[in-house]
């Protein structure tokens, strides 16, 4: 009883804590108030840009994970190996053209590709699909056409993306063992407890597909969120004008557009409208490289790639498209000024 009523000396940690708190308060009171309004303003810009990217991308990610869930339930492995050739060239070309069927953007394509790998899609086909699908699909064709018209820009965007994705697919076909490329799949095995019976009803099938969709939305959403935060942070603290000011000259302007494609992290289904805004300040070739490279590589997609592929393949996935987009953009700038 006495113990509880008699005052005990404060533990050292509490004293330290209080001392630290007082010190912090003193330091903060010396910081001019303008700093806090500045910080609050930055925070507001950050929140608006971050939510902008996230709200814009979330429905597309939902569509992608839904596609993945439906593939899990309705496509079986035997069918897959019947459809897709295992010869490297045919597989890469097939994978790239497969992109025309699935209306997914670069957020949605990652979980879908992983699911397809899981169903036995050959590596080169999957890589080509991964890079081609965000561009070569009906939604993007339509949005590019409505921004630039049915002309040169659309044709070259589709053509060059197709070529790059096939080439990268072929590069990856050199590696015979997918285990060297793909990260071990941890989460896909967890749903073994409710594997569907062969005679499952359609409702059960959709129920199962939705469960897969939800799990993947969380798993991939995590990386979408990290990526959006990075992109929003860069935009909040680094002036875009500094980047645009560098941009002239046939090679440098392409480089600027490529970096911009990475930083802006815009969904491929809508990036044509954004690219349109650069047509006044940048040449055809530079904007074209933005449109080719942006859907393949940006902050959020790279972070999502890292969940599916090992680190070294991801550097290839970034570097090869980067070099080839740079080359394509610079060639256009030289020959079609």
């Amino acid at each position: 009883m006495q113990n509880t009523t008699s005052p005990r000396p404060l533990p050292r940690s509490v004293i330290l804590f209080i001392a630290f708190g007082v010190l912090l308060a003193v330091v903060l009171s010396m910081v001019p108030i303008a700093f806090f309004t500045w910080l609050w303003d930055r925070l507001n810009v950050f929140a608006t840009v971050f939510l902008g990217i996230f709200i814009e991308a979330a429905p597309y990610l939902l569509l992608g994970t839904l596609a993945s869930g439906l593939v899990e339930v309705f496509v079986d492995q035997n069918q897959m190996s019947k459809w897709v050739s295992h010869r490297p060239v045919a597989a890469a070309v097939g994978g790239a053209f497969m992109g025309m069927v699935f209306p997914v953007c670069e957020c949605g394509v990652v979980p879908l590709t992983r699911r397809l790998f899981n169903k036995g899609l050959p590596l080169s086909a999957g890589i080509s699909f991964l890079l081609a699908a965000p561009v070569l699909n009906p939604i993007v064709v339509f949005s590019t056409a409505s921004a630039f018209g049915w002309g040169n820009m659309l044709f070259w965007r589709m053509g060059i993306s197709l070529v790059i994705s096939i080439i990268v697919g072929l590069v990856f076909s050199i590696e015979k063992d997918p285990a060297n490329i793909l990260r071990p799949v941890l989460t896909l095995s967890h749903d073994h407890d409710h594997t569907l019976k062969a005679n499952a009803t359609l409702t059960e099938k959709f129920h199962h597909a939705f469960l897969v969709t939800a799990d993947e939305f969380f798993e991939m959403g995590r990386y979408l969120i990290i990526g959006s935060m990075l992109a929003a942070g860069l935009q909040t603290f680094i002036p875009q004008s500094a980047l645009l000011a560098i941009g002239s000259g046939p090679v440098l302007s392409v480089l600027v557009m490529l970096v911009l494609a990475i930083v802006l992290s815009i969904c491929s289904t809508v990036d044509a409208f954004v690219a349109l805004g650069f047509m006044g300040t940048f040449s055809f070739g530079s904007v074209l490289s933005f449109l080719v490279f942006g859907p393949m590589v940006d902050i959020k997609s790279v972070i999502m790639y890292l969940q599916v592929f090992r680190r070294r393949p991801v550097t290839y996935l970034v570097a090869i498209p980067f070099m080839m987009s740079l080359l394509a953009g610079a060639l256009f700038n030289y020959f079609q000024p």
Binding site: T48, A214, D215, G221, Q235, C267, D271
Partner: protein, 247 residues
């Protein structure tokens, strides 16, 4: 974490996300973040998130009944709980930081243009036919950028809404009337502005919304010919429901 708890939390988060986006859509604040034309897609998202949450709740109910039947304990491992924490981030940011459309505090990094690089599908030819008082800030900037001969616009009546911004490049009696242009989402937003000239410009407050009426003239700023309104009246107005212009 037990699988069933994980699923319940997932369902709650999905539902929370659906409600959050639904509330934004209902209050009209979605267009602070994205271009109007993508709102239907977000509506789809709101519905589908709710469907997913419902599916997860149903699955939990089913699993509970099943485990009552055969007393089988949860043997499988749920995915990392960190996935859940991350999904909380947009919700927290959205709820804790009050919604505020981009304003002049974003100029520092997002840039600020008196010449619009935008060449949108509605060509400036159409703009000729619109009544000069119907044109917004972006329309005027476009006209001044893409017409060789701007003399035909000088002296026309203009009436534009925008927020006030002051810049060192301007005189004491001048201010910028600016709007943000958002093509896809706030991430690609950039500001356009035309100059207002008014003898009481100094009384205006930065970031306040004004309706400027007057005659259009031109002014040269940084070697660019920029539209200027000689204001007959500058009137404080409430912030428009659509803070951005959608090209």
């Amino acid at each position: 974490m037990p699988k069933r708890l994980y699923r319940s939390l997932q369902a709650l988060l999905l539902l929370g996300m659906s409600i959050f986006l639904g509330a934004k859509a209902a209050s009209g604040q979605l267009i602070y973040y994205i271009n109007q034309r993508f709102v239907p897609l977000t509506i789809f998202g709101i519905i589908f998130l709710a469907v997913l949450a419902q599916t997860l709740f149903a699955e939990n109910k089913r699993a509970r009944q099943q485990s009552d039947d055969d007393h089988d304990h949860d043997h499988d491992h749920a995915p990392a709980a960190a996935n859940l924490w991350f999904m909380l981030v947009p919700l927290l940011i959205g709820v804790l930081i009050p919604a505020r459309p981009l304003d002049s505090s974003a100029f520092a990094t997002k840039g600020f243009n008196t010449n619009s690089p935008i060449v949108s599908a509605d060509s400036s030819a159409q703009l000729f036919e619109t009544d000069s008082q119907e044109r917004n800030v972006l329309d005027w900037i476009k006209l001044f950028n893409y017409q060789r001969d701007i003399s035909q616009f000088l002296g026309q009546k203009a009436s534009v809404i925008g927020f006030v911004y002051f810049d060192e490049a301007l005189n004491q009696n001048q201010f910028f009337v600016s709007r943000f242009v958002v093509t896809c989402c706030a991430a690609d937003g950039f500001a356009v502005a035309m100059v207002g000239e008014w003898d009481q410009a100094a009384t205006l407050e930065k970031d306040s919304w004004v309706l400027v009426k007057g005659t259009v003239q031109s002014i040269t700023l940084n070697d660019q010919v920029v539209p200027l309104i000689q204001a007959e009246s500058v009137q404080a107005v409430p912030a428009p429901e659509q803070p951005y212009l959608f090209p």
